[in-house]
Protein backbone atom coordinates (compact mmCIF):
# COMPACT_ATOMS: atom_id res chain seq x y z
CA UNK A 1 0.00 0.00 0.00
CA UNK A 2 1.41 3.31 -1.06
CA UNK A 3 0.70 5.18 2.16
CA UNK A 4 2.46 2.53 4.22
CA UNK A 5 5.75 2.40 2.39
CA UNK A 6 7.06 5.64 3.91
CA UNK A 7 7.81 4.51 7.45
CA UNK A 8 6.18 1.16 8.10
CA UNK A 9 6.34 -2.02 6.02
CA UNK A 10 3.11 -3.83 5.29
CA UNK A 11 3.12 -7.38 6.69
CA UNK A 12 -0.28 -8.38 5.39
CA UNK A 13 -2.41 -6.58 2.83
CA UNK A 14 -5.83 -8.00 2.00
CA UNK A 15 -7.70 -6.31 -0.81
CA UNK A 16 -11.41 -7.00 -1.52
CA UNK A 17 -10.97 -10.63 -0.52
CA UNK A 18 -13.97 -12.87 -1.11
CA UNK A 19 -14.35 -16.52 -0.32
CA UNK A 20 -17.13 -19.03 -0.67
CA UNK A 21 -17.58 -22.51 0.79
CA UNK A 22 -19.75 -23.86 -2.03
CA UNK A 23 -22.67 -21.39 -1.96
CA UNK A 24 -21.89 -19.97 1.45
CA UNK A 25 -20.27 -16.55 1.20
CA UNK A 26 -17.86 -16.78 4.14
CA UNK A 27 -15.66 -13.72 3.50
CA UNK A 28 -17.21 -10.58 1.97
CA UNK A 29 -14.96 -7.86 0.55
CA UNK A 30 -12.34 -8.02 3.28
CA UNK A 31 -9.88 -5.12 3.28
CA UNK A 32 -7.23 -5.40 5.94
CA UNK A 33 -3.73 -4.01 6.26
CA UNK A 34 -1.43 -5.12 9.03
CA UNK A 35 1.83 -3.25 9.45
CA UNK A 36 5.08 -4.87 10.44
CA UNK A 37 5.15 -5.21 14.22
CA UNK A 38 1.45 -4.53 14.62
CA UNK A 39 -0.79 -6.63 16.88
CA UNK A 40 -4.32 -7.15 15.66
CA UNK A 41 -7.05 -8.97 17.58
CA UNK A 42 -10.01 -10.30 15.62
CA UNK A 43 -13.18 -11.20 17.46
CA UNK A 44 -16.74 -11.99 16.51
CA UNK A 45 -19.46 -14.60 16.94
CA UNK A 46 -18.82 -18.16 15.77
CA UNK A 47 -19.31 -18.58 12.05
CA UNK A 48 -18.36 -14.97 11.38
CA UNK A 49 -15.41 -15.98 9.21
CA UNK A 50 -12.61 -14.84 11.52
CA UNK A 51 -10.80 -18.20 11.53
CA UNK A 52 -11.21 -18.50 7.78
CA UNK A 53 -9.69 -15.06 7.38
CA UNK A 54 -6.45 -15.91 9.13
CA UNK A 55 -6.35 -19.36 7.53
CA UNK A 56 -6.34 -17.55 4.17
CA UNK A 57 -3.22 -15.65 5.22
CA UNK A 58 -1.19 -18.86 5.50
CA UNK A 59 -2.96 -20.44 2.54
CA UNK A 60 -4.67 -23.19 4.50
CA UNK A 61 -7.74 -21.90 2.64
CA UNK A 62 -7.88 -20.51 -0.89
CA UNK A 63 -9.68 -17.26 -1.57
CA UNK A 64 -11.60 -16.83 -4.81
CA UNK A 65 -11.60 -13.07 -5.42
CA UNK A 66 -9.32 -10.20 -4.43
CA UNK A 67 -5.66 -10.23 -3.51
CA UNK A 68 -3.67 -11.13 -0.42
CA UNK A 69 -0.12 -9.90 -0.10
CA UNK A 70 2.03 -11.30 2.67
CA UNK A 71 5.42 -9.64 3.19
CA UNK A 72 5.28 -8.32 -0.35
CA UNK A 73 4.51 -11.68 -1.96
CA UNK A 74 1.11 -12.24 -3.50
CA UNK A 75 -0.68 -15.45 -2.54
CA UNK A 76 -1.71 -17.17 -5.74
CA UNK A 77 -1.55 -20.69 -7.08
CA UNK A 78 2.20 -20.50 -7.61
CA UNK A 79 3.55 -23.25 -5.37
CA UNK A 80 6.93 -21.67 -4.71
CA UNK A 81 5.15 -18.56 -3.43
CA UNK A 82 3.18 -20.61 -0.94
CA UNK A 83 6.27 -22.36 0.38
CA UNK A 84 8.00 -18.99 0.73
CA UNK A 85 5.07 -17.54 2.68
CA UNK A 86 4.66 -20.55 4.92
CA UNK A 87 8.29 -20.34 5.97
CA UNK A 88 7.71 -16.76 7.17
CA UNK A 89 4.25 -17.14 8.72
CA UNK A 90 3.69 -19.24 11.84
CA UNK A 91 0.32 -20.49 13.03
CA UNK A 92 -0.90 -21.56 16.44
CA UNK A 93 -4.07 -23.64 16.46
CA UNK A 94 -6.96 -24.03 18.86
CA UNK A 95 -6.30 -27.77 19.14
CA UNK A 96 -2.47 -27.32 19.41
CA UNK A 97 -1.92 -29.93 16.65
CA UNK A 98 1.34 -31.16 18.10
CA UNK A 99 2.63 -34.33 16.46
CA UNK A 100 1.67 -37.01 19.01
CA UNK A 101 4.25 -39.58 17.86
CA UNK A 102 7.19 -37.25 18.46
CA UNK A 103 8.67 -35.85 21.65
CA UNK A 104 8.40 -32.15 22.42
CA UNK A 105 11.97 -31.71 21.20
CA UNK A 106 11.31 -33.60 17.97
CA UNK A 107 8.20 -31.49 17.37
CA UNK A 108 10.38 -28.40 17.57
CA UNK A 109 13.31 -29.66 15.48
CA UNK A 110 11.52 -31.52 12.62
CA UNK A 111 10.79 -28.54 10.38
CA UNK A 112 14.05 -26.78 11.22
CA UNK A 113 15.98 -29.79 9.96
CA UNK A 114 13.79 -30.60 6.94
CA UNK A 115 12.90 -27.08 5.78
CA UNK A 116 15.71 -24.88 7.10
CA UNK A 117 18.29 -27.68 6.57
CA UNK A 118 19.77 -27.17 10.02
CA UNK A 119 21.86 -29.85 11.71
CA UNK A 120 20.21 -31.74 14.55
CA UNK A 121 22.50 -30.12 17.09
CA UNK A 122 21.84 -26.61 15.84
CA UNK A 123 18.09 -27.27 15.71
CA UNK A 124 18.07 -28.63 19.25
CA UNK A 125 19.94 -25.60 20.59
CA UNK A 126 17.40 -23.27 18.97
CA UNK A 127 14.47 -25.42 20.18
CA UNK A 128 15.81 -25.45 23.74
CA UNK A 129 16.08 -21.66 23.65
CA UNK A 130 12.40 -21.30 22.73
CA UNK A 131 11.27 -24.01 25.15
CA UNK A 132 12.98 -21.97 27.88
CA UNK A 133 11.20 -18.90 26.60
CA UNK A 134 7.82 -20.60 27.02
CA UNK A 135 9.08 -21.96 30.35
CA UNK A 136 8.93 -25.72 29.78
CA UNK A 137 12.52 -26.78 28.93
CA UNK A 138 12.19 -29.69 31.40
CA UNK A 139 9.46 -31.30 29.24
CA UNK A 140 11.63 -31.58 26.12
CA UNK A 141 11.87 -35.38 26.30
CA UNK A 142 8.17 -35.99 26.88
CA UNK A 143 5.42 -36.78 24.39
CA UNK A 144 2.57 -34.30 23.87
CA UNK A 145 0.07 -36.77 25.36
CA UNK A 146 1.90 -36.53 28.68
CA UNK A 147 1.47 -32.74 28.95
CA UNK A 148 -1.44 -30.57 30.08
CA UNK A 149 -3.33 -28.48 27.53
CA UNK A 150 -1.59 -25.28 28.56
CA UNK A 151 1.82 -26.91 28.29
CA UNK A 152 0.93 -28.34 24.86
CA UNK A 153 -0.11 -24.94 23.58
CA UNK A 154 3.13 -23.41 24.84
CA UNK A 155 5.06 -26.14 23.02
CA UNK A 156 3.06 -25.34 19.89
CA UNK A 157 4.07 -21.68 20.20
CA UNK A 158 7.71 -22.68 20.70
CA UNK A 159 7.48 -24.97 17.66
CA UNK A 160 6.29 -22.04 15.53
CA UNK A 161 8.97 -19.72 16.91
CA UNK A 162 11.69 -22.24 16.00
CA UNK A 163 11.02 -21.42 12.34
CA UNK A 164 11.78 -17.77 13.09
CA UNK A 165 8.53 -16.47 11.56
CA UNK A 166 7.98 -12.80 10.76
CA UNK A 167 4.25 -13.07 11.41
CA UNK A 168 2.45 -15.25 13.95
CA UNK A 169 -1.20 -16.15 13.51
CA UNK A 170 -3.23 -17.39 16.47
CA UNK A 171 -6.52 -19.20 15.87
CA UNK A 172 -8.37 -19.16 19.21
CA UNK A 173 -5.28 -20.36 21.08
CA UNK A 174 -6.97 -20.54 24.49
CA UNK A 175 -10.45 -21.78 23.56
CA UNK A 176 -9.66 -25.45 24.11
CA UNK A 177 -7.96 -24.89 27.47
CA UNK A 178 -9.19 -25.42 30.99
CA UNK A 179 -9.68 -22.00 32.66
CA UNK A 180 -6.70 -22.32 35.00
CA UNK A 181 -4.35 -22.82 32.04
CA UNK A 182 -5.38 -19.84 29.94
CA UNK A 183 -3.15 -17.30 31.66
CA UNK A 184 0.08 -19.29 31.21
CA UNK A 185 -0.51 -19.23 27.44
CA UNK A 186 -1.57 -15.57 27.39
CA UNK A 187 1.56 -14.64 29.36
CA UNK A 188 3.71 -16.12 26.63
CA UNK A 189 1.72 -14.27 23.97
CA UNK A 190 2.06 -10.99 25.83
CA UNK A 191 5.82 -11.34 26.08
CA UNK A 192 5.99 -12.09 22.35
CA UNK A 193 3.94 -8.98 21.66
CA UNK A 194 6.26 -6.90 23.80
CA UNK A 195 9.20 -8.12 21.73
CA UNK A 196 7.64 -6.67 18.61
CA UNK A 197 6.34 -9.79 16.86
CA UNK A 198 3.69 -9.10 14.22
CA UNK A 199 0.63 -10.91 15.54
CA UNK A 200 -2.89 -11.52 14.28
CA UNK A 201 -4.96 -13.22 16.96
CA UNK A 202 -8.45 -14.59 16.73
CA UNK A 203 -9.47 -14.66 20.37
CA UNK A 204 -12.22 -13.81 22.82
CA UNK A 205 -9.76 -12.92 25.56
CA UNK A 206 -10.75 -9.28 25.85
CA UNK A 207 -8.26 -8.62 28.65
CA UNK A 208 -5.48 -9.69 26.30
CA UNK A 209 -6.92 -7.48 23.54
CA UNK A 210 -6.99 -4.43 25.81
CA UNK A 211 -3.46 -5.05 26.97
CA UNK A 212 -1.54 -5.75 23.77
CA UNK A 213 -3.66 -5.03 20.69
CA UNK A 214 -2.93 -2.03 18.52
CA UNK A 215 -6.25 -2.61 16.83
CA UNK A 216 -9.35 -4.72 17.48
CA UNK A 217 -11.46 -5.94 14.59
CA UNK A 218 -15.01 -7.15 14.96
CA UNK A 219 -16.35 -9.51 12.31
CA UNK A 220 -19.88 -10.71 11.74
CA UNK A 221 -21.37 -12.71 8.87
CA UNK A 222 -18.19 -12.58 6.84
CA UNK A 223 -17.69 -8.81 7.06
CA UNK A 224 -15.42 -6.54 9.04
CA UNK A 225 -18.07 -4.60 10.91
CA UNK A 226 -15.96 -2.43 13.14
CA UNK A 227 -12.28 -1.71 13.54
CA UNK A 228 -10.77 0.51 16.23
CA UNK A 229 -8.18 0.97 18.93
CA UNK A 230 -8.93 -1.26 21.95
CA UNK A 231 -9.87 1.69 24.11
CA UNK A 232 -12.42 3.09 21.63
CA UNK A 233 -13.59 -0.39 20.69
CA UNK A 234 -14.51 -1.38 24.22
CA UNK A 235 -15.61 2.02 25.53
CA UNK A 236 -17.48 3.43 22.53
CA UNK A 237 -18.54 0.70 20.13
CA UNK A 238 -20.37 2.25 17.19
CA UNK A 239 -22.14 -0.58 15.44
CA UNK A 240 -25.22 -2.23 16.97
CA UNK A 241 -23.88 -5.72 16.25
CA UNK A 242 -20.64 -4.88 18.07
CA UNK A 243 -22.57 -3.60 21.07
CA UNK A 244 -24.68 -6.74 21.18
CA UNK A 245 -21.62 -8.99 20.91
CA UNK A 246 -19.71 -7.12 23.60
CA UNK A 247 -22.68 -7.20 25.95
CA UNK A 248 -22.97 -10.96 25.41
CA UNK A 249 -19.34 -11.83 26.10
CA UNK A 250 -18.72 -9.28 28.86
CA UNK A 251 -21.89 -9.76 30.93
CA UNK A 252 -20.42 -12.47 33.16
Amino acid sequence: MAENTSNTVTAVAMNSVNKWFDDFHVLKDINLNVADGEKVVICGPSGSGKSTLIRCICKLEDHQRGTINVLGTELNDDVSNIDEIRREVGMVFQQFNLFPHMTVMENCTLAQMLVRKKSRKEAETIAMGFLEKVRIPEQAGKYPGELSGGQQQRVAIARSLCMNPKILLFDEPTSALDPEMISEVLDVMVSLAEEGMTMICVTHEMGFARRVADRVIFMDQGEIVEENSPLEFFENPVNERTKLFLSQILQH
Binding site: L60, Q95, N97, F99, H101, L114, Y143, G145, E146, A156
Partner: protein
Amino acid sequence: MDLANIIQPPSTPSLLSRLRANLFGNVLDSVVSIVCGVLLVMLVYSVIDWAFVSSIWRAEDESLCKEAGGACWSVIDARHRIIFFGLFPYEEHWRSTLACVVMTATIVLSCFPWFWSALRLSALWLAGFGTFYILMHGGLFGLSVITPERWGGLALTIFIFAAVSIIGMPLSILLALGRRSKLPVIAKMVGLFIDFFRSLPLLTILFTAAVITPFVLPGWLQGDKLYRVIAGFAIFFACYQAENIRAGLQAIPAGQDEAGSTLGLSYWHRISRIQLPQAFRNSLPAIVNQFVITFKETSIVTIVGFFEILASGAAAYGTGKWTVHYIEVYVFIGLIYFMFVFSLSRYGAYLERKLRVGHG
Protein backbone atom coordinates in the same frame (compact mmCIF):
# COMPACT_ATOMS: atom_id res chain seq x y z
CA MET B 1 -1.40 -39.24 61.72
CA ASP B 2 -3.32 -42.29 62.79
CA LEU B 3 -2.27 -44.86 60.23
CA ALA B 4 -5.02 -47.28 61.17
CA ASN B 5 -7.69 -44.81 60.12
CA ILE B 6 -6.36 -44.13 56.62
CA ILE B 7 -8.83 -45.61 54.18
CA GLN B 8 -7.23 -48.40 52.19
CA PRO B 9 -8.36 -49.51 48.74
CA PRO B 10 -10.26 -52.82 48.99
CA SER B 11 -7.81 -55.68 48.56
CA THR B 12 -8.25 -57.69 45.36
CA PRO B 13 -9.42 -61.24 46.05
CA SER B 14 -6.89 -64.02 45.53
CA LEU B 15 -6.96 -66.16 42.40
CA LEU B 16 -8.13 -69.16 44.39
CA SER B 17 -11.08 -67.40 45.99
CA ARG B 18 -12.10 -65.91 42.64
CA LEU B 19 -11.98 -69.37 41.05
CA ARG B 20 -14.07 -70.78 43.83
CA ALA B 21 -16.63 -68.00 43.50
CA ASN B 22 -16.82 -68.23 39.71
CA LEU B 23 -16.70 -72.00 39.17
CA PHE B 24 -18.23 -73.47 42.36
CA GLY B 25 -20.70 -70.78 43.40
CA ASN B 26 -23.69 -73.16 43.61
CA VAL B 27 -24.56 -76.80 42.98
CA LEU B 28 -25.26 -76.45 39.25
CA ASP B 29 -22.05 -74.44 38.67
CA SER B 30 -20.06 -77.05 40.56
CA VAL B 31 -21.52 -79.93 38.54
CA VAL B 32 -20.87 -78.19 35.20
CA SER B 33 -17.35 -77.25 36.30
CA ILE B 34 -16.52 -80.81 37.32
CA VAL B 35 -17.94 -82.36 34.13
CA CYS B 36 -16.03 -79.86 31.93
CA GLY B 37 -12.89 -80.38 33.99
CA VAL B 38 -13.02 -84.16 33.57
CA LEU B 39 -13.60 -83.86 29.81
CA LEU B 40 -10.69 -81.43 29.50
CA VAL B 41 -8.33 -83.72 31.40
CA MET B 42 -9.39 -86.69 29.25
CA LEU B 43 -8.81 -84.69 26.06
CA VAL B 44 -5.38 -83.44 27.10
CA TYR B 45 -4.43 -86.94 28.27
CA SER B 46 -5.40 -88.58 24.99
CA VAL B 47 -3.59 -85.93 22.91
CA ILE B 48 -0.42 -86.33 24.97
CA ASP B 49 -0.74 -90.09 24.79
CA TRP B 50 -1.22 -89.98 21.00
CA ALA B 51 1.57 -87.49 20.33
CA PHE B 52 4.23 -88.53 22.82
CA VAL B 53 3.55 -91.75 24.74
CA SER B 54 2.19 -94.26 22.23
CA SER B 55 3.98 -92.67 19.30
CA ILE B 56 6.72 -94.02 17.04
CA TRP B 57 9.47 -91.62 16.02
CA ARG B 58 12.03 -93.29 13.75
CA ALA B 59 11.50 -94.00 10.08
CA GLU B 60 12.72 -97.60 10.27
CA ASP B 61 10.21 -98.41 13.03
CA GLU B 62 7.21 -97.68 10.79
CA SER B 63 6.06 -101.30 11.01
CA LEU B 64 5.43 -100.83 14.75
CA CYS B 65 3.03 -97.91 14.20
CA LYS B 66 -0.18 -99.91 13.85
CA GLU B 67 0.44 -101.83 17.04
CA ALA B 68 1.47 -98.79 19.09
CA GLY B 69 -1.76 -96.94 18.26
CA GLY B 70 -0.28 -93.44 18.67
CA ALA B 71 1.13 -90.93 16.23
CA CYS B 72 3.43 -92.35 13.60
CA TRP B 73 6.08 -89.63 13.38
CA SER B 74 8.15 -92.01 11.25
CA VAL B 75 6.49 -90.38 8.25
CA ILE B 76 8.07 -87.04 9.17
CA ASP B 77 11.46 -88.64 9.80
CA ALA B 78 11.33 -90.36 6.44
CA ARG B 79 9.70 -87.71 4.29
CA HIS B 80 10.52 -84.32 5.85
CA ARG B 81 12.83 -83.41 2.98
CA ILE B 82 9.89 -83.46 0.55
CA ILE B 83 7.87 -81.26 2.92
CA PHE B 84 10.68 -78.75 3.26
CA PHE B 85 12.11 -78.81 -0.25
CA GLY B 86 9.45 -80.15 -2.65
CA LEU B 87 10.97 -81.14 -5.96
CA PHE B 88 14.26 -79.35 -5.34
CA PRO B 89 17.14 -81.70 -6.33
CA TYR B 90 18.14 -83.85 -3.34
CA GLU B 91 21.87 -83.09 -3.41
CA GLU B 92 21.16 -79.32 -3.48
CA HIS B 93 18.87 -79.25 -0.42
CA TRP B 94 21.51 -77.37 1.56
CA ARG B 95 21.00 -74.44 -0.79
CA SER B 96 17.28 -74.36 -0.11
CA THR B 97 17.87 -74.63 3.65
CA LEU B 98 20.33 -71.77 3.60
CA ALA B 99 17.95 -69.72 1.45
CA CYS B 100 15.15 -70.24 4.00
CA VAL B 101 17.43 -69.17 6.82
CA VAL B 102 18.54 -66.07 4.90
CA MET B 103 14.97 -65.05 4.06
CA THR B 104 13.70 -65.67 7.58
CA ALA B 105 16.63 -63.66 8.96
CA THR B 106 15.79 -60.83 6.54
CA ILE B 107 12.18 -60.82 7.73
CA VAL B 108 13.24 -60.91 11.38
CA LEU B 109 15.87 -58.18 10.94
CA SER B 110 13.43 -55.85 9.20
CA CYS B 111 11.24 -56.10 12.32
CA PHE B 112 13.88 -54.23 14.32
CA PRO B 113 13.27 -50.46 14.51
CA TRP B 114 16.94 -49.82 13.69
CA PHE B 115 16.24 -50.89 10.09
CA TRP B 116 13.26 -48.58 9.67
CA SER B 117 14.63 -46.14 7.17
CA ALA B 118 14.08 -46.35 3.45
CA LEU B 119 17.80 -46.78 2.82
CA ARG B 120 18.44 -49.50 5.39
CA LEU B 121 15.29 -51.45 4.55
CA SER B 122 16.05 -51.37 0.82
CA ALA B 123 19.63 -52.44 1.38
CA LEU B 124 18.56 -55.27 3.69
CA TRP B 125 15.90 -56.60 1.33
CA LEU B 126 18.09 -56.27 -1.74
CA ALA B 127 20.79 -58.29 0.01
CA GLY B 128 18.26 -60.79 1.37
CA PHE B 129 16.48 -61.34 -1.93
CA GLY B 130 19.75 -61.40 -3.87
CA THR B 131 21.23 -64.09 -1.66
CA PHE B 132 18.00 -66.08 -1.70
CA TYR B 133 17.79 -65.93 -5.48
CA ILE B 134 21.42 -66.88 -6.07
CA LEU B 135 21.09 -69.82 -3.67
CA MET B 136 17.81 -71.06 -5.10
CA HIS B 137 18.31 -70.34 -8.77
CA GLY B 138 22.05 -70.84 -9.05
CA GLY B 139 23.98 -70.11 -12.24
CA LEU B 140 26.55 -68.11 -10.28
CA PHE B 141 29.57 -69.14 -8.20
CA GLY B 142 29.48 -72.61 -9.76
CA LEU B 143 26.00 -73.40 -8.48
CA SER B 144 23.90 -75.43 -10.91
CA VAL B 145 20.81 -73.73 -12.32
CA ILE B 146 17.51 -74.80 -10.73
CA THR B 147 14.50 -73.10 -12.35
CA PRO B 148 11.53 -71.95 -10.21
CA GLU B 149 9.27 -74.82 -11.41
CA ARG B 150 11.38 -77.10 -9.26
CA TRP B 151 11.39 -74.88 -6.18
CA GLY B 152 9.08 -76.09 -3.50
CA GLY B 153 8.14 -76.70 0.11
CA LEU B 154 8.89 -74.26 2.90
CA ALA B 155 11.40 -72.29 0.81
CA LEU B 156 8.74 -71.53 -1.79
CA THR B 157 6.15 -70.58 0.83
CA ILE B 158 8.55 -68.17 2.51
CA PHE B 159 9.71 -66.78 -0.82
CA ILE B 160 6.17 -66.07 -2.03
CA PHE B 161 5.21 -64.51 1.30
CA ALA B 162 8.30 -62.30 1.44
CA ALA B 163 8.05 -61.25 -2.20
CA VAL B 164 4.33 -60.44 -1.95
CA SER B 165 4.94 -58.40 1.22
CA ILE B 166 7.89 -56.46 -0.12
CA ILE B 167 6.22 -55.59 -3.42
CA GLY B 168 2.78 -55.17 -1.87
CA MET B 169 3.63 -52.84 1.02
CA PRO B 170 5.02 -49.87 -0.99
CA LEU B 171 2.26 -50.41 -3.54
CA SER B 172 -0.38 -50.35 -0.81
CA ILE B 173 0.97 -47.05 0.52
CA LEU B 174 0.84 -45.52 -2.97
CA LEU B 175 -2.71 -46.81 -3.48
CA ALA B 176 -3.85 -45.48 -0.11
CA LEU B 177 -2.38 -42.05 -0.85
CA GLY B 178 -3.76 -42.12 -4.38
CA ARG B 179 -7.27 -42.84 -3.17
CA ARG B 180 -7.03 -39.81 -0.86
CA SER B 181 -5.63 -37.58 -3.60
CA LYS B 182 -7.14 -34.12 -3.96
CA LEU B 183 -7.26 -34.65 -7.71
CA PRO B 184 -10.61 -36.35 -8.38
CA VAL B 185 -9.33 -38.18 -11.49
CA ILE B 186 -6.57 -39.94 -9.56
CA ALA B 187 -8.74 -40.63 -6.51
CA LYS B 188 -11.52 -42.12 -8.67
CA MET B 189 -9.18 -44.23 -10.78
CA VAL B 190 -7.28 -45.61 -7.80
CA GLY B 191 -10.57 -46.28 -6.04
CA LEU B 192 -11.81 -48.21 -9.06
CA PHE B 193 -8.55 -50.17 -9.24
CA ILE B 194 -8.74 -51.14 -5.56
CA ASP B 195 -12.40 -52.07 -5.65
CA PHE B 196 -11.93 -54.05 -8.86
CA PHE B 197 -9.18 -56.27 -7.47
CA ARG B 198 -10.85 -56.61 -4.10
CA SER B 199 -14.01 -57.90 -5.74
CA LEU B 200 -12.13 -60.75 -7.45
CA PRO B 201 -11.29 -63.96 -5.59
CA LEU B 202 -7.55 -64.47 -5.10
CA LEU B 203 -7.86 -67.75 -6.97
CA THR B 204 -9.09 -65.99 -10.09
CA ILE B 205 -6.27 -63.48 -9.96
CA LEU B 206 -3.60 -66.16 -9.56
CA PHE B 207 -5.12 -68.27 -12.32
CA THR B 208 -5.26 -65.29 -14.65
CA ALA B 209 -1.67 -64.36 -13.83
CA ALA B 210 -0.41 -67.90 -14.41
CA VAL B 211 -2.45 -69.06 -17.36
CA ILE B 212 -4.08 -66.16 -19.20
CA THR B 213 -1.54 -63.32 -19.14
CA PRO B 214 0.94 -65.22 -21.39
CA PHE B 215 -1.64 -64.87 -24.19
CA VAL B 216 -1.97 -61.13 -23.60
CA LEU B 217 1.46 -59.85 -22.64
CA PRO B 218 4.36 -59.64 -25.10
CA GLY B 219 7.00 -62.30 -24.53
CA TRP B 220 9.65 -60.05 -23.00
CA LEU B 221 7.20 -58.86 -20.34
CA GLN B 222 5.88 -62.28 -19.32
CA GLY B 223 8.72 -63.41 -17.11
CA ASP B 224 8.51 -66.68 -15.27
CA LYS B 225 5.14 -68.04 -14.18
CA LEU B 226 6.23 -67.72 -10.53
CA TYR B 227 6.87 -63.99 -10.92
CA ARG B 228 3.56 -63.40 -12.68
CA VAL B 229 1.77 -65.19 -9.83
CA ILE B 230 3.69 -63.15 -7.23
CA ALA B 231 2.83 -59.93 -9.07
CA GLY B 232 -0.87 -60.83 -9.10
CA PHE B 233 -0.78 -61.84 -5.45
CA ALA B 234 1.03 -58.60 -4.53
CA ILE B 235 -1.62 -56.47 -6.24
CA PHE B 236 -4.35 -58.36 -4.40
CA PHE B 237 -2.49 -57.91 -1.10
CA ALA B 238 -1.83 -54.22 -1.79
CA CYS B 239 -5.50 -53.47 -2.47
CA TYR B 240 -6.54 -54.85 0.91
CA GLN B 241 -3.58 -53.37 2.76
CA ALA B 242 -4.22 -49.98 1.10
CA GLU B 243 -7.68 -49.90 2.66
CA ASN B 244 -6.20 -50.68 6.10
CA ILE B 245 -3.67 -47.88 5.71
CA ARG B 246 -6.32 -45.52 4.38
CA ALA B 247 -8.43 -46.21 7.46
CA GLY B 248 -5.42 -45.25 9.56
CA LEU B 249 -4.90 -42.06 7.55
CA GLN B 250 -8.59 -41.19 7.79
CA ALA B 251 -8.39 -41.27 11.59
CA ILE B 252 -5.72 -38.54 11.74
CA PRO B 253 -7.22 -35.12 12.51
CA ALA B 254 -6.92 -32.60 9.64
CA GLY B 255 -5.01 -30.31 11.99
CA GLN B 256 -1.95 -32.55 11.83
CA ASP B 257 -1.45 -31.93 8.15
CA GLU B 258 -2.27 -28.24 8.56
CA ALA B 259 0.34 -27.90 11.30
CA GLY B 260 2.86 -29.53 8.99
CA SER B 261 1.92 -27.18 6.15
CA THR B 262 2.23 -24.04 8.23
CA LEU B 263 5.69 -25.18 9.36
CA GLY B 264 6.64 -25.24 5.68
CA LEU B 265 6.97 -29.03 5.36
CA SER B 266 6.62 -30.37 1.82
CA TYR B 267 3.92 -32.87 0.83
CA TRP B 268 6.28 -35.86 0.98
CA HIS B 269 7.72 -34.80 4.31
CA ARG B 270 4.21 -34.43 5.72
CA ILE B 271 3.33 -37.88 4.39
CA SER B 272 6.48 -39.65 5.55
CA ARG B 273 7.02 -37.93 8.92
CA ILE B 274 3.53 -37.04 10.09
CA GLN B 275 0.82 -38.98 8.28
CA LEU B 276 2.21 -42.48 7.69
CA PRO B 277 3.75 -43.03 11.14
CA GLN B 278 0.40 -42.17 12.71
CA ALA B 279 -1.58 -44.16 10.14
CA PHE B 280 0.51 -47.28 10.81
CA ARG B 281 -0.02 -46.92 14.50
CA ASN B 282 -3.76 -46.40 14.07
CA SER B 283 -4.32 -49.48 11.96
CA LEU B 284 -1.53 -51.76 13.12
CA PRO B 285 -3.83 -54.65 14.19
CA ALA B 286 -5.48 -54.69 10.75
CA ILE B 287 -2.13 -54.43 8.96
CA VAL B 288 -0.63 -57.34 10.89
CA ASN B 289 -3.83 -59.29 10.31
CA GLN B 290 -3.40 -58.86 6.55
CA PHE B 291 0.13 -60.27 6.76
CA VAL B 292 -1.15 -63.26 8.73
CA ILE B 293 -3.89 -63.92 6.16
CA THR B 294 -1.38 -63.58 3.33
CA PHE B 295 1.02 -66.06 4.89
CA LYS B 296 -1.72 -68.65 5.11
CA GLU B 297 -3.14 -67.85 1.68
CA THR B 298 0.18 -68.68 0.02
CA SER B 299 -1.12 -72.27 0.06
CA ILE B 300 -3.49 -71.33 -2.77
CA VAL B 301 -0.63 -71.23 -5.31
CA THR B 302 -0.89 -75.05 -5.40
CA ILE B 303 -3.76 -74.57 -7.80
CA VAL B 304 -1.51 -73.08 -10.46
CA GLY B 305 1.03 -75.83 -10.06
CA PHE B 306 3.46 -74.74 -7.37
CA PHE B 307 4.63 -77.12 -4.67
CA GLU B 308 4.44 -74.87 -1.65
CA ILE B 309 4.56 -76.50 1.76
CA LEU B 310 0.99 -77.84 1.86
CA ALA B 311 1.26 -79.43 -1.60
CA SER B 312 4.64 -80.97 -0.83
CA GLY B 313 3.11 -82.27 2.39
CA ALA B 314 0.46 -84.04 0.33
CA ALA B 315 3.26 -85.48 -1.80
CA ALA B 316 5.06 -86.62 1.34
CA TYR B 317 2.29 -88.96 2.46
CA GLY B 318 1.11 -89.66 -1.08
CA THR B 319 3.05 -92.86 -1.78
CA GLY B 320 3.14 -96.46 -0.63
CA LYS B 321 2.97 -97.25 3.06
CA TRP B 322 2.81 -93.59 4.12
CA THR B 323 -0.70 -92.90 2.74
CA VAL B 324 -2.35 -93.74 6.07
CA HIS B 325 -0.28 -91.19 7.99
CA TYR B 326 -1.69 -87.97 6.56
CA ILE B 327 -2.80 -86.70 9.99
CA GLU B 328 0.78 -86.62 11.27
CA VAL B 329 1.93 -84.73 8.16
CA TYR B 330 -0.80 -82.11 8.50
CA VAL B 331 -0.15 -81.71 12.24
CA PHE B 332 3.52 -81.14 11.40
CA ILE B 333 2.73 -78.56 8.71
CA GLY B 334 0.18 -76.97 11.02
CA LEU B 335 2.93 -76.49 13.60
CA ILE B 336 5.17 -74.81 11.01
CA TYR B 337 2.38 -72.41 10.04
CA PHE B 338 1.66 -71.80 13.71
CA MET B 339 5.29 -70.90 14.39
CA PHE B 340 5.31 -68.25 11.69
CA VAL B 341 1.86 -66.82 12.29
CA PHE B 342 2.16 -66.83 16.07
CA SER B 343 5.49 -64.97 15.85
CA LEU B 344 3.85 -62.46 13.54
CA SER B 345 1.00 -61.80 15.96
CA ARG B 346 3.33 -61.51 18.92
CA TYR B 347 5.46 -59.07 16.96
CA GLY B 348 2.31 -57.07 16.16
CA ALA B 349 1.46 -56.93 19.86
CA TYR B 350 5.00 -55.78 20.67
CA LEU B 351 4.75 -53.03 18.03
CA GLU B 352 1.42 -51.86 19.40
CA ARG B 353 2.96 -51.47 22.85
CA LYS B 354 6.00 -49.72 21.44
CA LEU B 355 4.06 -47.29 19.25
CA ARG B 356 1.55 -46.45 21.93
CA VAL B 357 4.29 -44.46 23.63
CA GLY B 358 3.13 -41.12 25.02
CA HIS B 359 -0.53 -42.01 24.62
CA GLY B 360 -1.29 -42.72 28.23
